[in-house]
Amino acid sequence: MSALKDLAVGDVVAERTVHLTRESLVRYAGASGDFNPIHYRDDVAAAVGLPGVLAHGMLTMGLAVGTIESWLGDTGRILEYGVRFTKPVVVDPETGADVTVVAKVGAVDDESARIDLTVTYEGTTVLVKAQARVRTT
């Protein structure tokens, strides 16, 4: 694992796989207040033409950045964090879904680094331009 002051483009600073279940979605709904039923009701998801119940995009965004927090030490080092939501994560009622996050240094300057988060589910990238700019000084 790379020290903050000694980062090179391409370094992998953290990675993990998070197993989501329907319980995870209900928990996130309660914690966030986003009770859109496409995140817990198969019938509603099907009625609007979705391939299944989907994870909240903001849950995926949240667990992605959580991957780098222990490496960073202090969440206050995060200056900016953004994502584009491109593909849904379908959470099977029995087998759930595994979301894999790899955090890599994308750019470095004197005071900060851009950490690029590659977030995939079943081999497909689900967030595009998932980038956090972190203070390194």
Binding site: G62, L63, T75, I78
Partner: protein, 149 residues
């Protein structure tokens, strides 16, 4: 375009203050798999110089949500909730949100353009603390589709 063009540039009134509770931060941290102790243990947060547990970065969306509800409820917006897709989200932080913060959010529609038969709406919610200091700005891009149901 399924969105009223006059929304561009509109600023909404500040939301009612949101008091960030320690247990809410813990609940949210658990929900987003943010397992670092700074989110749950006041002593770990204090060791980093914070007055109480530190909210995960995306907790700002909980405070932003009240502003997005204002936007969606605007009678002349033309936006039908059923047709809204959250396409992009970005946060720019002055500092993390910490339990005990009393936060107010003010939304401005900063971008509006037609996209096929739909529209892309960009909004910026500026979140400030009880002292009026900037904490985080949340930028949301919504794609609004056609149709009235």
């Amino acid at each position: 375009m399924p969105v009223n063009p006059e929304l561009a540039g509109r600023q909404f009134p500040p939301t009612a203050p949101y008091l960030v509770g320690r247990e809410k931060v813990r609940e949210f941290a658990r929900a987003v798999f943010a397992d670092d102790p700074q989110h749950t243990d006041p002593a770990a947060a204090a060791a980093l110089g914070y007055a109480d547990v530190v909210a995960p970065p995306t907790f700002a969306i909980v405070v932003t949500d009240a502003t997005l509800q204002q936007l969606l409820a605007e009678p002349d917006s033309g936006i039908v909730l059923h047709n809204v897709l959250h396409a992009e989200q970005k946060f720019r932080y002055s500092r993390p949100i910490v339990a005990g913060d009393e936060l107010t959010a003010t939304l401005t529609v900063t971008g509006l353009r037609a996209m096929g038969g739909g529209a892309m709406v960009t909004s910026e919610s500026e979140i400030t603390d009880a002292a009026g200091e900037h904490v985080v700005t949340a930028t949301s891009v919504l794609i609004v589709g056609e149709g009235d149901r």
